[in-house]
Amino acid sequence: MRLIPCFLYLLIIAMHEVIWRDFAGLYFVALNLPAMIVVSVAIYKSETAALWFGFLAGLVMAASQPDKMGLHALFLAILGVAVFHVREKLNLESVYSKLLLIVGAVLVHNIATTIINGTDRFFYLLWSYCLPGAAYTTILAWIFFLFKERKITFQKLKSVF
């Protein structure tokens, strides 16, 4: 993985944390862009890239809460490696299998984030935040994959109008 794309992804995560999180949220449902980017890197790049990118993404994501930076960094690094290994073992040719992987990974990350942040209403947050958040993120990931795999292009979109 090259340094510039890596930096750009980190920049996108920072932008998400500062600006998008507020705008992209629907009631309790929040977009988990850091997890989505880490999973995407794990799907398309090497194990080492997924490991280090997950670690850095965790640091950037939790920069505003330094006491939890380590846990977030470690967890996203593990998530990146885990997704990489799942990708290696499964046939991820289809977009839907990638989406399945993303929904699972984001759900696990949402649950982990909820636990790391500490809550006494875990099951409530599981239903109201973790699951809908994973679904919401997967919808965005679906659009991203459609563009990435050229199933939707701007030319096709243009031709519709």
Partner: protein
């Protein structure tokens, strides 16, 4: 990242894991100075531009909201000014009406014009907000502070239709206030109010005041109709052609009075 990972051979995979775990553990142990230094560095380098951008967006949003509020207030103020101006004009009219007295034996019923009907380029009838409930009846004369306006043509429970002098079918028996000579006032298309049936030998001068004569029983005697304008005395004709300047301005009638007999 390739540049980073290319420093290490692939078999050094364990080293990568160890490093990541090692760094993570350092952050988890939360040695305050390190965590804070790293956190602040990330915030200053990666977050800061977006903080600036967000504050700019919030500022623009606030200005836009303020702008909307100010625009709304401006429209509101303009409306208030317009209402006040209207009230001032109405006040002025009412002041002039205050000194206005009805002919002897009659009372005035003040009413407001609610609608105007045009015939060509002039109003020919108006609708007022008084009707049978207010003892308004057909053929009662309607005036304003300037002079005669017309007569009640139709009347309903709460409204009445006033036929204005500008309606060609409306005729008023009139006389010259000074000389007491008589004629009939009517509206002639393209000319305006005219005094008909005025003999060519009659004494009439520009500026003479024309009032209702009271003949015919519809209009009370002495109501101001207008003043004499242009006079034509065609040869070999029995009557003059007299153009009048109407006292009432028909296109700006807003408040009128229905003249009722005290016995009604």
């Amino acid at each position: 990242m390739n540049q980073i990972t290319s420093f290490f051979p692939k078999e050094w995979r364990t080293l990568h894991f160890t490093l990541v775990v090692f760094f993570s553990v350092i952050f988890i142990i939360n040695v305050t100075s390190i965590n804070q230094f790293v956190g602040q560095s990330i915030v200053k380098s990666l977050y800061f531009p977006f903080f600036k951008l967000k504050s700019l967006m919030v500022e623009v949003g606030t200005s836009s909201t303020e702008n909307d509020i100010l625009r709304e207030e401006l429209v509101d103020s303009k409306m208030q000014i317009s209402i006040l101006e209207e009230a001032a004009k109405e006040n002025e009219r009412m002041r002039s009406i205050l000194g206005f007295e009805p002919p002897a034996g009659y009372t005035l019923l003040p009413s407001k014009v609610v609608s105007v009907t045009y015939g060509g380029n002039r109003p020919v009838s108006i609708v007022i907000n008084k009707g049978i409930r207010d003892t308004v009846a057909i053929d009662q004369a309607v005036i304003n502070q300037q002079g005669l306006v017309g007569r009640i043509k139709e009347v309903m429970n709460d409204i009445a239709v006033v036929q204005l002098l500008t309606d060609p079918s409306n005729r008023v028996a009139a006389r010259i206030s000074e000389t007491r000579e008589m004629g009939i006032v009517r509206y002639k298309s393209g000319v305006g109010l005219v005094l008909d049936n005025f003999p060519i030998q009659g004494s009439i001068h520009e500026g003479d005041v024309i009032v209702s004569s009271g003949l015919g029983g519809v209009y009370v005697a002495g109501l101001m109709i207008g003043t004499v304008g242009k006079i034509n005395r065609p040869q070999d004709e029995a009557f003059c052609e007299v153009e009048l300047r109407s006292a009432a301005s028909f296109s700006s009638v807003e408040e009128v009075f229905v003249i009722r007999s005290v016995h009604e």
